[in-house]
């Protein structure tokens, strides 16, 4: 299946037709409910909390927030059609039309927890010529950190395109001051593999995150030194050439003969 992220920007992709299809599909409803329950399970919240739902869409995940633990939630989404469906369904939470890449428009310490189901991978796309994913991610996580109370928790389920997107999102979250990591469910099953980004703002001591039966994937960090030790002669030559070019020296052009041995036949 093609990724909706590559088709069109979210506010265009989720038009009236697509929003209705999305919300009425029992398969999607089931998956959404499962993921929301799993995210809540990971967060282990006390009842009666104030929660933000990022990319709430038609409020499928919000309904579960109201049912489980009697939380009061605020949802934000960029697609007016999705929010219109939410209005029709008469959801309990407040709705906001906003772009998460422009920041979370809430003052400091507003929320106890934040959940987001299948949304934050959209931040990695540049939909307009002025949008810079790196800046949008930074703005998103900075304002998210501010909007949470100290000790607040975040669970974001997302569909990364590849390893680089995971690294990009994790890096941006850590740069904003969050602690936490990635939880991967159903790791062996390529189709049903689910990624949850679990973050905490400030020190969480009172009610910790539920880490039973969870594998937090550790990214083996390749240091510069290790990189150098493992590189081939050709990589070494190319690296040095690149460095000299950066310093403004005159360097021979790269060709497919670069870094090859001169054998007798040559």
């Amino acid at each position: 299946m093609s990724r909706p992220e590559t088709t069109a920007p979210p506010e265009v992709f989720y038009n009236d037709l697509e929003s209705k299809k999305y919300t009425s599909s029992s398969r999607i409803q089931h998956i959404q409910a499962e993921m929301t329950l799993r995210a809540l399970d990971l967060l282990t919240l006390e009842p009666h909390q104030h929660i933000l739902d990022i990319g709430c869409g038609s409020g499928l995940s919000g309904e579960i927030l109201s049912q489980e633990g009697d939380h009061v939630w605020v949802g934000m989404d960029i697609s007016p059609s999705m929010l219109a469906v939410a209005l029709d369904r008469d959801v309990a939470g407040d709705l906001l039309l906003a772009d998460m890449g422009n920041g979370i428009p809430f003052r400091a310490g507003t929320f106890d927890a934040v959940i987001s189901i299948s949304a934050i991978q959209w931040l990695c796309n540049a939909d307009t010529n002025t949008a810079d994913p790196k800046k949008r991610l930074a703005r998103f996580f900075d304002s998210l950190y501010a909007a949470l109370r100290r000790g607040g928790k975040v669970a974001c389920q997302f569909y990364p395109r590849d390893e680089r997107q995971i690294e990009q999102i994790l890096g941006a979250a850590k740069a904003s001051g969050f602690a936490g990591g990635l939880v991967i469910d159903d790791e062996e099953n390529k189709k049903n593999k689910k990624y949850y980004l679990i973050l905490t703002a400030g020190n969480v001591t009172t009610n910790d995150i539920n880490l039973k039966g969870i594998k937090i994937e550790k990214q083996p960090r390749r240091t510069a030194k290790k990189n150098k030790r493992e590189e081939t002669t050709k990589e070494y030559i190319n690296r040095k050439k690149e460095l000299m070019r950066k310093r403004g020296r005159l360097v021979a052009l790269d060709s497919h003969f670069t870094g090859r041995k001169r054998r007798p036949k040559f």
Binding site: H48, L97, N102, F106, R107
Partner: protein, 136 residues
């Protein structure tokens, strides 16, 4: 939008979020095509939630918002509650619940004091999308 949420939203422009003027958003200037409209919607009463939220509510901002919406009845200082289940506080908690959770702003506009940007509310959904020149 609930009055509770109105007590937390601030201007979404990056340059504003560093200044103290970005909060609260003001309801004092309304336009003719989107007139201010409030409604009462019943929400299940939960004393614990109101009690949990009370320390986080910015009381001066709430009185300002209420005044701009036409309610001058709020006291100047924040009421204090020690125990959410004590019977003497129940009426107070119920009043706060009605004010914060059951008062809905159906339509109207909010203004940022710092940059002057106006956020419109339609069908009780505020629009926080920014025009291109305000995105940084």
């Amino acid at each position: 939008m609930k009055l509770l949420t109105a007590n937390f939203v601030q201007c979404s422009v990056k340059a504003c979020s560093a200044t103290p003027k970005c909060f609260p958003l003001h309801f004092d200037q309304q336009t003719a095509d989107v007139p201010l409209e409030l409604a009462h919607e019943d929400v299940d009463f939960s004393p614990e939630f109101v009690y949990n939220m009370l320390p986080r509510i910015d009381w001066p901002a709430l009185t300002t918002t209420a005044r701009e919406l036409g309610n001058n009845m709020l006291p100047e200082t924040k009421p204090e509650i020690e125990n959410p289940n004590a019977p003497e506080h129940e009426q107070l908690l119920r009043d706060l619940h009605t004010l914060l959770l059951e008062t809905q702003i159906i339509q109207g506009s909010m203004r940022c004091e710092n940059c002057g940007h106006i956020y419109f509310i339609r069908d009780s959904i505020p629009n926080f999308l920014l025009p291109g020149h305000l995105v940084q």
